[in-house]
Symmetry: C2
Subunit: 445 residues, 2 copies
């Protein structure tokens, strides 16, 4: 995607004002909705809205669906009500579920009013489950037959239509409960009169509607099938999660992990309006400011010491940095393990022991190195000893915190990817400064 | 996956020594290879190797394939040569490509020697392309017909076998060049004598073997097809990239982004041996130590000032933290944009302007807040003014660095996800300390 997209962006941005709309309409007519979506996201707000005007009506819904939340809203926010009305008049349930969060409630209600009964039922079914549950992301265009159907029934069905990402037929019992899955490839060569159950998969995973959506999506990705059935708490077949939806959910999960560590959300717009972006980031800066002031306050306890041994002030960043960096390594590893369900109370003691050993060893190595450098730099063996001990203490504390903090946050149902790093560096800053300046007060004065 | 996996881990770890192998063999016999792989990765080394002994021979290859690189090697490293021999004797090209990096060269050669000619050709074909190119990840089990084939030919082929993740048939010309794709669903209902070209997709994306593998994988995920054809530089059809491979590549890419920011690689083992883990992390700590000493050296230039105004030492972490945090927000956004190809020389000026505006505004807000707090804390309006100006300068410098550093690294073909944060915090530390202590020297003494 990369090179081609970059050429497109350049073409749009480099065009003169008069040429621009011609260039844009040429591009948007030629490209897939996903590519136009990426292109629109890459344009500054003014050019984005101008480009949007050139998108043919019939492509608009698909492009909106392919965009990230915030840039999508930048377009919806300026859209006249009549245009919204015509755009969402024939929207189906799946698309409305995807867009519902970006739309004013009033618009969702209007879209629902003109929606046909079946689609409305699907929409309402999805709303029964929160958007982090598999039930929210069910697709309804699947192939289903009664449990006693034969190969000839299946072939008749397959000749009519195969929806996208369908490679199996679902067999249900009279109550509508999911019972078996039969691969289309198994049906194709089989004699007409064979019961489908004879061809069904021996083991076939089903998802529960109240399973975690991302867990379910990962199961779909690993299943070697293009979709897995989703059932409600009674075993009734609601629909399926297809691999297209699964990829979107998993990618969004990873983008969340990446953006959360910097206090942003995965829908962040590259060209968010300055005021909105300032506001979002100000909150994160404010939280971090509190932790920085806390660290400063601890330093302030040692003002008298700092005045007498200014070398301590000079070396403070080294102590803080070594703790922060080694802690964030442990933290990153544990957060990934927690997300994959690989860190549990059962292997936690072993994990803690390993991380403390690694931290201890690295603590010893680097405390010696740093101690020697500091001794020569400030011509004082005692300063070397003080920083050595502080570094060792801080790296070990960092290993401990890197394991304990995310596990506790996870237990409290807080997101370790979002707040783990802030809390960790607060701990390592404070431990580092107190150990370093405290030892300095004891040994150097 | 999460809950179930956690139960399994607990069952294994909690079992007494004598019970353990019984529990393990029960679990590994019941579960999918992907789940056993996750379970093995979650066990401390000793228990992992014990569990491995209980895995039935016939499941071993599948489980190894599903594991991350480092934990997989922890098992391969202890495997007797004869066992390796029997394990890899009937390996196919795709699996050997996946495992090749974890295996000793000698073992790859032995596996190749007994491999059938066709599979060996596939293996060698993949090795022509580096593992970050689409050509390396081609699968060869696709359905192909000559361009003049009819529906009846297609149905005959479909009745024989449909490989996994196949939803289209590829039509090739006499030279073996990819020409058209026909959906299986379009073929199913069509009359026997219709030429397949009449049913083919109007537009169908093809990947080039020397396209970036992750870009290609993202195209597959977004294509609504379960695979896209991969052609060589002459247009010859080499095979396809299926959505299963695409998911693995995309997920690995995201794990790389997450782990790289902490200086680790995506194959990192939760229970890596202590020495190996210490060594890997020591390198990263060493690099960061150099940058910390650099920052310290800059602080050292202002020793005399610090001695006279110890409040400056107390407040240093606040200046550094505000720059580091706001810079990392910009950096995270730009790294994502670069990875998606959404940041180019064309929109860079607009992006820089936006980030500098956001930085400027947040700089003004927080420099006022921090200035007031510092004035009261140290009962000196001048200290408030000094820290205000330093914070403003540092946040603006952070916005600039957050845009420029990853763009330059990307131009130099270096990985911004790996080194961006290190360089950024070095810049913000130094700018912050120099601005703060420099202004302090000028205005407070």
């Amino acid at each position: 995607m990369t090179d081609e997209l970059q050429d497109l962006i350049e073409e749009v941005v480099d065009a003169t004002k008069t040429e621009q709309s011609r260039v844009i309409s040429k591009i948007v007519a030629m490209q897939e909705p996903e590519e136009v979506a990426l292109l629109l996201e890459s344009l500054p707000l003014e050019q984005r809205l101008e480009a949007w005007e050139n998108v043919p009506e019939e492509d608009r819904l698909g492009i909106l669906l392919a965009m990230r939340g915030d840039p999508r809203e930048s377009i919806l926010d300026t859209m006249p009500l009549e245009e919204m009305d015509s755009l969402f008049q024939e929207i189906d349930a799946a698309d409305l579920i995807e867009l519902a969060e970006s739309l004013p409630n009033r618009m969702v209600d209007r879209a629902l009013k003109v929606m046909d009964a079946q689609q409305r039922k699907y929409f309402e079914g999805a709303q029964k489950y929160k958007d982090d549950l598999a039930g929210h992301w069910v697709t309804h265009d699947f192939l289903m037959l009664p449990i006693n159907a034969k190969v000839r029934d299946a072939l008749r069905l397959l000749r009519r239509e195969i929806p996208e990402y369908v490679d199996t037929l679902f067999l249900v019992n009279r109550a509508g409960h999911f019972s078996e899955a039969v691969k289309i490839s198994a049906i194709m060569g089989a004699p007409d009169h064979i019961p489908l159950v004879d061809l069904s998969e021996e083991t076939f995973l089903t998802l529960n509607a109240d399973d975690d959506a991302v867990d379910g999506a990962m199961k779909v990705q690993k299943s070697v099938f293009t979709a897995l059935p989703v059932v409600d708490e009674h075993g009734k077949l609601l629909g399926r999660m297809d691999i297209g939806t699964a990829c979107e959910l998993v990618n969004e999960y990873y983008e969340h992990q990446l953006m959360a560590s910097a206090g942003m959300n995965e829908d962040e717009d590259l060209f968010a309006p300055v005021l909105k972006s300032t506001q979002n980031r100000a909150i994160w800066l404010g939280i971090n400011l509190l932790t920085a002031f806390l660290a400063s306050w601890f330093i302030g306890l040692f003002e008298a010491t700092l005045q007498q041994v200014v070398a301590l002030a000079v070396l403070m960043p080294v102590v803080a940095s070594m703790g922060g960096i080694s802690g964030s390594q442990t933290l990153t590893l544990i957060i990934r393990g927690l997300a994959m369900g690989q860190v549990t109370s059962a292997n936690l003691p072993a994990l803690l022991k390993k991380e403390l050993s690694v931290g201890g060893l690295n603590g010893i190595i680097w405390s010696i190195v740093i101690g020697i450098v500091a001794s020569y730099w400030f011509e004082s063996a005692m300063i070397g000893i003080v920083i050595s001990l502080a570094i060792l203490a801080n790296i070990v504390a960092a290993a401990l915190s890197g394991v304990v903090i995310p596990v506790v946050l996870d237990k409290l149902k807080l997101d370790p990817a979002l707040s783990g790093a802030v809390i960790l560096t607060t701990v390592t800053d404070i431990v580092g400064f107190v150990a370093f300046l405290g030892l300095g007060s004891l040994l150097l004065i």
